[in-house]
Symmetry: C2
Subunit: 686 residues, 2 copies
């Protein structure tokens, strides 16, 4: 599954955005204000006009939790992936109703259930604000640069939002390594309700073994509906569904929100990603997988609690393993080295060497990484309670400051989403929390050492196990009302709180913020400034026929339905519903749900089920519509093949494939298996 890698990148690796080299066929994640009209015309004889582009832009949406989707009915229905609604389904489940495994179908509107922490964003406008940002940061370095940049971005976003905080989201996006800054203005929707989620066995058929592989048989589809003022919204731009769906060789476009690519990292950065981040992250997620796997074996209730985290962890692990394998290929690193040398040579004399400066910053990163990731990025405090406490403590401090002086995630533009997350009604299980926290505290001690002052502060003379138990037993943060009280009470309420998680978050906040400041000053700002220099050199050399690295903003990629050749064998581009029944063994993860088995006879087993295309996608693209030139949905992207994992660093057209659910299968299954005639009708309305 593609989605989660994006959340992951954010958690584990460095945040950078970079411009790419000239595109080959099908390569590229293009912003909607700079589509590759030339290649589209030349290769596919397709010439979208501005109306087509605007329509597609408005019909495509982003899920704030890290996915993509699209409007597919006039009444606010959003089509996305099952794995994109998994958190919501999980949060709506409890020991009494296990919606994750049983699935969820709202056959009437009043059965649609509010997702506690989801938000839908619809892109309304893109504005260039590069000049404003450059003016504000001119000549600055290190912490001063970071502060000035955050301040001007905060101002721009605030002005954009005005008094519409609940309905508008504004993000300044750094494109082409700081070569451009664009303001993305979204219509924000916070009342998002679950309409359909298949049983886990259908949405995740093949489980971890089949993940990132093909042939594939997943109904990785979820439906949400956007509400406002208690009613479904009216949608002006929405995609129609073409039930015949995609055919081999057909031009396909994917409009969605790829989260992160690193295609323009320098060799020094790639080596650091490989030797530091990916190796460490591989070990971390490997360990976490077994923790959750063994926790799940305690019984059905425990399994249900850990299921979403385990799915996410296994997916992440596969992503990072694939990325590491990609970076361990010496010839690919060598190609990057040659590209870098060529650019360096053509640059002539430079005032300073941006590559050397970036290389130095990698050494600073190596020193800072463990404490930064463990403390500021919370890896040493793997607990929902702690995340809530961190958010409440910081929100109190930050909201007391002028907007432009706050940490970006506490600026006005981000508060609605933050509040929604912190006030989520999703249940938090104390036993599960104690397990995750105890384990992560052992990581904290392992990596920083038992004599580290912060470790001593957190553990005192106790063990991770005892500390975790004491914190979990003493906290009231499981209660939304208590979190609401602290959110609204601000600094005094937080300062007076005796809640052990609040006290822990406060106790380590100074150290944690210092780590972040050092990281931003010694690593991030150095990279940003010097990558911008390299980006300008690249602009000079390659002109405008380039696309920026992914930034979890709307992009279009084009390609076609096409298999590939693996070890001399041709992999056909499409599977059928019948293939799922052939592959099923009856035992997880290769078991089909009972609903399918009992309705098998009614199904047309020749209907295409999953298919692959040459579209260039990555984590964050999950749930993206796959559309044809008439802007009809012919499929929904949900994964890449195993070769797509190297796509973080380069695009290999011969092997890299996007994996999607065919629109024909969606309609067929909703109709025959899930018996949801109203939904089928709504989806097929012209």
């Amino acid at each position: 599954m593609v989605m989660t890698s994006w959340r992951n990148w954010g958690a584990g690796l460095l945040l950078v955005a970079a411009a790419s080299l000239p595109a080959r066929a099908a390569e590229g994640m293009w912003t909607l204000d700079n589509l590759p009209l030339g290649p589209l015309k030349a290769q596919y004889d397709f010439e979208p006009d501005q109306a087509w582009i605007d329509h597609v832009m408005h019909a495509s949406v982003r899920l704030a939790s890290g996915c993509s989707g699209s409007f597919v009915s006039d009444d606010g229905l959003v089509l996305t992936n099952a794995h994109c609604v998994l958190d919501c389904v999980h949060e709506l489940s409890d020991d009494a109703q296990d919606l994750v495994n049983e699935g969820f179908v709202a056959r009437k509107r009043d059965a649609e259930a509010k997702c506690p922490a989801e938000e839908v964003n619809q892109l309304e406008a893109i504005t260039d604000v590069t000049a404003q940002v450059e003016t504000a940061t001119e000549g600055l370095e290190g912490e001063a640069f970071v502060d000035a940049r955050n301040a001007v971005i905060g101002d721009i976003e605030s002005a954009c939002i005005g008094d519409q905080a609940g309905r508008r989201r504004c993000d300044v996006v750094e494109l082409y390594n700081g070569g451009l800054y664009h303001l993305y203005r979204y219509r924000r929707y916070q009342d998002v309700r679950l309409v359909f989620s298949p049983e886990y066995r259908a949405g995740f058929f093949g489980g971890d073994p089949d993940n990132f592989n093909f042939p594939r048989y997943n109904l990785d589809i979820g439906l949400l509906r956007v509400y406002e003022d208690g009613r479904p919204i009216d949608v002006a731009d929405r995609f129609r569904i073409n039930r015949k769906g995609a055919r081999p060789g057909e031009l396909t476009m994917v409009t969605g929100h790829p989260g992160r690519t690193e295609r323009q990292l320098t060799v020094a950065q790639l080596e650091r990603v490989r030797d530091v981040d990916l190796i460490d992250t591989l070990a971390y997620y490997s360990e976490r997988r077994a923790l959750l796997w063994q926790y799940s074996r305690q019984g059905e209730s425990a399994a249900r609690r850990a299921q979403a985290d385990l799915t996410f962890t296994e997916n992440s692990l596969k992503v990072f393993k694939g990325q590491l394998q990609a970076l361990l290929q010496p010839e690919l690193i060598e190609r990057k080295r040659q590209e870098e040398l060529a650019l360096r040579e053509s640059a002539g004399d430079l005032e300073s060497d941006p590559w050397a400066a970036i290389a130095d910053a990698q050494n600073a990163y190596r020193e800072l990484r463990d404490p930064y990731v463990l403390v500021e990025r919370r890896r040493g405090f793997y607990s929902t309670y702690f995340s809530m406490a961190r958010g409440l403590v910081r929100a109190a401090d930050e909201r007391a400051k002028p907007n432009a002086e706050r940490l970006p995630e506490y600026q006005d533009a981000s508060l609605p989403r933050l509040e929604q997350t912190l006030m989520s009604s999703a249940p938090i299980d104390p036993d599960y929390e104690a397990t995750k926290l105890a384990w992560s505290l052992t990581k904290l001690r392992e990596l920083l050492g038992p004599d580290d002052p912060l470790v001593k502060l957190v553990l005192g003379r106790e063990s991770p196990e005892i500390v975790a138990q004491r914190l979990v037993e003493g906290t009231a943060l499981g209660d939304v009302a208590e979190r609401r009280r602290l959110w609204e009470g601000g600094v005094p309420a937080v300062a007076q709180s005796k809640d052990p998680f609040i006290q822990l978050a406060r106790a380590i906040d100074r150290v944690s913020r210092d780590l972040r400041t050092r990281y931003e000053a010694e690593v991030e700002s150095v990279e940003t400034r010097n990558q911008a220099i390299i980006a300008r050199l690249r602009f000079e050399k390659y002109g405008t026929s380039i696309y920026p690295d992914a930034t979890f903003t709307l992009r279009l990629s084009y390609g076609e339905v096409k298999g590939w050749v693996e070890n001399g064998q041709t992999v056909e581009p499409m599977t059928t519903l019948g293939g799922a029944f052939e592959r099923a063994t009856g035992v997880d993860p290769f078991a089909l749900p009972q609903s399918w088995l009992s309705r098998k006879k009614a199904l047309d087993l020749d209907v295409p089920f999953n298919f692959v295309t040459t579209n260039d996608i990555i984590g964050g693209n999950s749930g993206s519509p796959v559309i044809n030139r008439k802007a009809e949905v012919v499929g929904v992207a949900f994964d890449g093949n195993i070769h797509s994992l190297g796509g973080a660093f380069w695009f290999d057209e011969t092997l890299n494939r996007c994996v999607a659910v065919h629109s024909g299968a969606i309609i067929e299954l909703l109709d025959e298996v899930y018996e949801a005639p109203a939904l089928v009708k709504e989806l097929q309305r012209r």
Copy 2:
């Protein structure tokens, strides 16, 4: 702890032995027939005579389970590490008596308890058999080379053993990358009894956080006694214990059995170790750690069952992490590359390029590794039942063949040890076995893929969980009598067995043997033959002042008691008993046992406890005596510092340190805390 890394190397990585470059001060693990007499005289004015050497050779012993030790009394008392007797202590424990955590002191002879699966080997003689091996293998390649070599070695060992199988062990050892083959003849002792093991809190104080670190406070000491015919043996050569122990600056020698170094791997091999073996092994052990950690949290009984495996796993993880960090330093790989180039240039024209041949073999290895490690090395079948079944199935088949045609581990020389292992009376817990097996079967499926024929053969249409449960519930291999019946019944008994583990082991045996044959033919034999060529070039260039890579045979290293400088801070070379009480927090792993706390007043807190030396040691050296020039025990080696982990690939004299328990602390604690006057008296007899 050093021991377990050796078992680990054997489990995860390639078996090779290699010669080293000329030694610097303190570097080197010297065979006892080629001691560095010149440097010893020059640097320490020490000239051991042949009597000294013979005495030291006979007083040093090897534990077949993977450790070193020494005779320290006339009555067969063996001094080693607590972590070297941990398996025995674990096997003697059950829910009624938890010897791991409570410790064990046999204050009288009749309380000494037989270790179910331990064996002590005392080196008696070394003979050069190079000519015999070379004649038998001349001109052969691939599988033919492996078969011929195994056959001639089998013949030599059999002839050496004669009719003394129960009392004699004979191993042909490949030294200097096949430059030399030596026959090591040992006196074999299979009745080994536990005499003393401290509480886990004392033997493993500081636990995983302090492991491979210093300052240190571990009573990592265990005592065994060797019996024969029901009586303690009479020992002719044994070390005396010098209670005053080691002092800073003093010459120290370590005589023990370093398991494996890789100091003469080619760059292609080092890159393969780094990119394939170590990264994969890091992920594997990370995951296994969390599995065992979370399993342990079920309760005291579960924790006891998993304790030894968890300790071993955490230790392995630290070893592999350290080795990976060492190989990720580009300057060290570059140094190796330069050494290789220099040797290549001085070699002149060669018939064939041994480096290129080895590099090709690495590619073959990359293809073979996953199935080879999972199936033939049993990583996909992590279960004592399965190991037993594999041993019984193969023993039946192999023992039916002439000795020289058998797999080496089933040749006559190895049968007594094998039988002892397979007939161990140590209890096997079904729930624990089902957990480990289910987990490892998920690894099998993950790495080979669900469509792999072997995976389909093993899992059928079931899940790993169900298969593991079914196997464990159906097996009778927990019963020693049943294993005895199959061992003695040979091929017919095994063929008729309906035991599901026996049937599984039989079902996959063909595939597993084929993987091994391919590995030996395409990788191992190519490496062995070409490393021998490189070894000869090195001999020509550097002469005789070199030592061979470690081979789990007796070696002497020399050095001195000396701290080091870390980040500008001097690390003092010795700690005291008082320091342990200062470091103790009262909570594991920093809790001292009650016995210490209640006897604190009686202890001389100024007695040295642990110390570091510059001796060059590695996994397998655990339990080695640290002796002075009078051949008195002044300490017992149990660990290296964190820098010693790179010692697998090179020796860094400025940082690499051996960590030992001081002899003064051993006597003081046995006397004052463990109240074992008879033992103290026996240990101090002159």
